[in-house]
């Protein structure tokens, strides 16, 4: 059984995006940063330098960035166990994230969270979450806060195909509708729920119909195309920011690595990832589109590539040198008082 039936519809076109050059470059930089962050972690993890479990977002960059480029620090997101991309897209500090993943006390979470729990409340990033399906109800609560503040802010949750089968996600969708909160549910189907194809676990074979069954309008997008996600998110926000209640975006994408680093991926056809890298890669598509439309010269993107590589290089070097936690750190931040 093929992991998905739908073929990507996006083609490289000469169509103008309508975005400023600055916005396009920023989006590209974010996507490239996620890509190189993850590719480097893949290498570092293999050396044993990184403690614990690491789940990489490589391949899905267009989704996180396409959605988060619309958001400010006043908007909230909540992520998944595969959270690095969402964190970077929402503006978390990249060197501090790298230190966190290496377990340094200078990490974004003081070395007490690790890859699966990166958060920065000041940026509206309410955490990557190790419990599949736990984030959606939390995002409903953040959306309640947004509604009460009345400033047009929203809460966005990222949900994989695996989490789409969790009861908590159903509860969250229903409650978001009942309370009419400004909440965007992003469903990013990357084809696999851990080691099992998405189509196996989704009983009705159609996440979109299921979301619509809750009374939530769904905007479908191409998960390999930043511009497609960006446009879908604009449509969702047009509803949710203006008091229209919850919305959803559904897209299909692919992860380039295993469920976790070290996963032998026996469930995948041997050439699957290679094919997606060659035919559907979101960064490749982005560059092709720029080549055709001429909105941003490729040399500018080349320059971004170089800057991103330098950032990742310096982040890893700094993380490796960063101070390790002290014994007394064990007992801090359990409660307000200790």
């Amino acid at each position: 059984m093929s992991i998905r039936t739908k073929k990507s519809t996006a083609r490289a076109t000469a169509q103008l995006s309508g975005l400023s050059q600055e916005a396009i470059v920023r989006a590209y930089r974010q996507m490239k940063t996620i890509r190189e962050f993850e590719e480097r972690l893949h290498i570092e993890n293999a050396t044993g330098a990184i403690p614990g479990f690491t789940h990489l977002y490589c391949g899905q960059e267009a989704v996180a960035v396409g959605a988060c480029e619309h958001l400010t620090d006043k908007d909230f997101i909540i992520s998944t166990h595969r959270g690095h991309g969402h964190c970077i897209a929402k503006g978390c500090d990249v060197p501090a994230m790298m230190k966190e993943i290496f377990g340094s006390r200078d990490g974004l979470n003081k070395g007490k969270g690790g890859s699966m729990h990166i958060a920065d409340i000041s940026k509206g990033m309410l955490g990557a979450n190790g419990i599949v399906g736990a984030g959606q109800p939390i995002a409903v609560g953040a959306a309640i806060a947004c509604k009460l503040r009345g400033e047009g802010s929203v809460a966005l949750s990222f949900t994989g195909d695996g989490a789409s089968n969790q009861g908590t996600v159903f509860e969250a969708m229903n409650m978001a509708v009942v309370l009419q909160v400004p909440k965007v549910f992003m469903f990013e189907n990357n084809g696999y729920s851990e080691h099992t194809g998405a189509s196996y676990g989704i009983g009705c074979d159609d996440i979109v119909k299921r979301i619509e069954g809750f009374g939530i309008p769904v905007f479908q997008a191409d998960g390999f195309d930043f511009f497609s996600i960006y446009e879908a998110m604009a449509k969702a926000l047009e509803v949710s920011r203006k008091g229209g209640g919850p919305t959803a975006i559904y897209c299909e994408t692919i992860r380039y690595f295993g469920h976790f680093e070290g996963d032998p991926q026996n469930y995948r056809a041997k050439d699957e990832v290679q094919r997606y890298r060659e035919e559907e890669d979101c960064l490749m598509k982005f560059r092709r589109r720029m080549e055709k439309s001429g909105e941003v010269p490729l040399e500018v993107l080349d320059q971004v590539d170089a800057e991103v590589m330098a950032l990742i290089e310096s982040s890893v070097a700094a993380a490796k040198q960063a101070p390790r936690p002290l014994p007394e750190d064990l007992l801090t931040n359990v409660y307000n008082s200790y």
């Binding site: 959606q136 309640i144 307000n336």
Partner: protein, 336 residues
Amino acid sequence: MPRKTFREAINEALHLEMERDETVLIIGEDVSGGAGGTSGQRDAAGGVFGLTKGLLPRFGEHRVIDTPISEAAIIGAANGAALAGYRPVAEIMFSDFVGVCFDQILNQAAKFRYMFGGAKAPLVIRMTVGAGRSAGAQHSQILHGLLASIPGIKVLLPSNAYDAKGLLLQAIRDEDPVIFLEHKMLFNDACEVPDGDYTVPFGEGVLVREGEHVTIVASGQLVKVAVAAADKLAKEGITCDVIDPRTISPLDEELILESVRQTGRLVVVDEAPVRCGFAADVARLAAEKAFSSLRAPVLPVTPPHTPVPFAPELERLYLPDAADVEKAVRAVLAHS
């Protein structure tokens, strides 16, 4: 000073704090009630036990949020609102229902501060607890031990209206997730409760009776039981310290240890089975930190290791009573 019931004290605390702090929210099933009903009457329930009555008319449906029957979404939403800067007071109708929202307590609320490097999630989760109403095995449990075993959350178990109001006000102002346990058998109990604002600090137990022969630790509805036993024994010249810890986590260890060091004898009265529970934890405390003072084995007075039964005569048998406490006190005294 006016006398108020436990129910009135909690209702008053919620009114006072919502008035004082506009970031305080109420969220739960039927906290107002009536939405979508044929009578058109809102605040039709005010909570299944009437504890949140009157809040919706006073503060409106934006701050008093009736939810679907979705406990995971209720506690999840409270978590999210707390992270986003509000002070939600979520209600779980019966503590037994934590089974369907435990992740949001165990893995989310309790862990945010630690794993996010200092994040603040100041939510309160109110839930009713306890046996005595023939509510059966799924509506009668008291899960203070289970909940207090989780680092990162605080667990309160008031035994009277005065403490209930003061502890709830403190809980809403606290910077950590707090679970506030309301014993169903105490709702109609009244005592003197000041009208205005006051708080009861966490981690400070009270000496309800003072004595010299035996230390009795009891909480929730069993404080009354312990006091009844102590008062009866006092007539024979056997006097007991009766300690109500009021908060299970943090626990006033010093108050218990000071008493045990003087009496050398400890009886722990608790509504949950002793295995891996609060009574066992208090016994552990004495064994660890007052070992040389102990002159008798620590005796738990707790229910058997069974679910809570339905039939009234079985439920009475299940719950510790004053005679059980008296027997335990005599047993520790008999040990030379």
